[in-house]
């Protein structure tokens, strides 16, 4: 049974490697991708079902018992993330079907796509801090490949910055892991949790915690380490932007969620209070960025940051309710960010420009796109009954209960400004008289892919009553690290 944990990593990795050989055969590539995505979705659905109905799973590779061997752990949080990743991957593949040019496919779009999924899944499943670094590298290598497909002038320019920043933070990551190893003598997350708890996070450990936070903050684009994100996320093809926006920054947030609940949760007044301040500033800077530009793609890219800020606020507040809010928001944000990047990409193709000032009146030429964008904007801002509302409600109530009033106030203010920034796109691009004739017709499979994701977001909001207990049980497992430690080390 425990071998099941390996499949969400193995299937995309194997298919990704296989597709390199069949790259010239377009229809075979598509069929193989479709089959493997369906298979992978089925596996992750079953894995989720199994973990929630019976017990979490652990795979000890090569029969080496934890903490000596490399382990993969599928607990409640991990399987929720894995399932979300596979939903996004399916929608992205559907969007890619008609929008990815032949040239992109020839430059190994599909192999890189699957390797990215493999890396992200691995990062969510690993129970070992060094392996987290390795899977980070797997997904980053795939993302380096994806970001330059197309090979335009500004793609090269922005990807250099993207890669340099990520490379630097990776080196910092591996240095920090070796620091932690020399202090605690282990890289297994459960044993780290146990050993750090034994000495109550004395001395240098808090320094290591902050160093690790800098690493994850760079990956997750938090203030002041966000400046590489907006421009580098808008240069590749929309499907790649959507994958980056939906998955990559969320891996950083997931790592924080894991590390600062399981390992470094003993000096809350130092680390977690600091997180709340960083979260507040990130939210503000993000919305200011989104309001400062009239480039549609850039507006969506800047909107990644307030979302990351909200999730970090939940981690900083550190109560069962706020952690549930973080997980809820994580899932919601994956779906809606991917949908918004899809819609923005469709809009830009339709209009032939990404400049909002040159758009107008497209509601007449593509009403469906317009209304979908409108609903997506409401979901993003957190208008009830959509999914953004549930996550924000939990986060803000958690913050209020712990008396973080300023952070909660900034959260509310930034929600309002998020709404303003995306509705501005809706008004500018869809209302009024048709300024210029649309360049291309809107791509139908692309609309369906966005529609599926928006539908999921609405379902997450309307069916919150049904989803919430599962999310809360994942959060309850996070707040008490002893559950995870006992399960992995079997004591």
């Amino acid at each position: 049974m425990s071998n099941l944990v390996f499949l969400p990593i193995f299937i995309p990795l194997f298919v990704g490697a296989l597709l390199i050989f069949f790259n010239e055969k377009h229809s075979l590539t598509l069929k193989l991708s479709f089959v493997s995505l369906v298979l992978n979705f089925g596996v992750s659905l079953y894995l989720t079902f199994f973990v929630f109905t019976t017990h979490p799973l652990i795979l000890e590779t090569g029969g080496w018992k934890a903490p000596y061997g490399i382990i993969l752990v599928a607990d409640q949080l991990s399987v929720i993330m894995i399932l979300s990743v596979n939903v996004i991957a399916g929608a992205a593949a559907l969007f890619a079907y008609n929008t990815v040019s032949h040239k992109m496919v020839k430059h190994y779009f599909y192999p890189l796509f699957f390797l990215l999924i493999a890396g992200v899944s691995g990062a969510f499943l690993t129970g070992d801090l060094f392996n987290l670094f390795v899977f980070f590298e797997v997904l980053l290598m795939a993302s380096y490949g994806l970001i330059i497909i197309g090979g335009s002038k500004h793609q090269f320019r922005e990807s250099v910055k993207y890669i340099l920043l990520n490379l630097f933070s990776s080196i910092l990551f591996v240095t920090t892991v070796s620091f932690l190893y020399s202090v605690t003598g282990t890289v297994n997350m459960a044993q780290l949790g146990q050993r750090v708890a034994e000495i109550e996070q004395e001395g240098i450990l808090t320094g290591i915690a902050i160093l690790l936070f800098i690493v994850f903050a760079t990956k997750g684009a938090l203030f002041p380490l966000y400046f590489w994100l907006p421009k580098s996320y808008i240069v590749p093809s929309p499907v790649v932007s959507a994958l980056f926006g939906a998955l990559l920054t969320k891996v950083g947030v997931y790592s924080m969620l894991r590390v600062y609940t399981l390992i470094f949760s003993h000096k809350l007044e130092l680390t977690h209070t600091f997180f709340i301040w960083v979260a507040s500033i990130t939210m503000l800077i993000g919305v200011i960025g989104a309001l400062s530009t009239s480039n549609v793609k850039l507006i969506i890219a800047y909107n990644i940051m307030p979302a990351i800020g909200f999730m970090l606020l939940g981690i900083g507040t550190f109560s069962p309710e706020s952690l549930a809010g973080t997980i809820y928001y994580l899932v919601h944000d994956m779906a809606i960010k991917a949908a918004l990047f899809f819609l923005a990409g469709l809009l830009v193709w339709h209009a032939g420009t990404s400049n909002l000032n040159k758009m107008g009146g497209y509601i007449k030429s593509s009403p469906l796109l317009g209304w979908m964008f409108f609903i997506a904007a409401l979901v993003l801002a957190g208008i009830p009954p959509f999914s953004g509302f549930v996550g924000k409600y939990l986060l803000l109530r958690g913050a209020m209960d712990e008396e973080h009033y300023i952070a909660a106030g900034i959260g509310l203010l930034s929600s309002l400004l998020i709404l303003f920034s995306v509705i501005r796109v809706f008004i500018g691009a869809f209302w009024g008289e048709l300024k210029e004739e649309p360049k291309e017709k809107v791509n139908q499979p692309g609309l369906i892919a966005s529609g599926i994701l928006i539908f999921i977001s609405i379902a997450l909001g309307v069916g919150a009553e049904w989803f919430y207990p599962y999310i809360q049980s994942a959060a309850d497992n996070l707040i008490d690290p002893q559950i995870y430690i006992d399960f992995v080390l079997k004591e």
Binding site: S159, S178, N295
Partner: protein, 112 residues
């Protein structure tokens, strides 16, 4: 010995960061290479430097070399080797398509 290695790793880090802050793309790439060397030496040092000892813990032997940092370093070297070679090609292509290798000219604007 550990102190000497730490100072060496620190020097590599410092030189690497200095190069990272340069404007020319090639210098920056070399800077990342130096920093990753520093990180690798650092990992090795963190596992305590023992010479001539078996790498595996056997019953009765108290003194042994820790094999884990060596495994970590090997993984890390392979990764940084791959990324650095990729980065060199990318830097060259960026120079070709943008006609400059100075970072301050690679800024770009909002509307493109």
């Amino acid at each position: 010995m550990e102190i000497l290695m730490s100072i060496l790793a620190g020097t590599l880090f410092a030189a690497g960061v200095y190069l990272l802050l340069q404007k020319q793309l090639l210098k920056i790439v070399l800077g990342t290479a130096l920093i990753s060397h520093g990180a690798h030496l650092f990992i090795l040092t963190m596992g305590k430097l023992n010479r001539g000892k078996p790498p595996i813990l056997v019953k009765g032997i108290e003194d042994y070399t820790d094999p884990l940092p060596q495994a970590l370093i090997l993984t890390s070297i392979v990764i940084s080797f791959g990324v650095t070679s990729f980065l060199l090609v990318l830097a060259y292509r960026t120079y070709q398509s943008n006609k400059t290798d100075m970072m301050d000219q690679l800024r770009g604007t909002d509307d493109e």
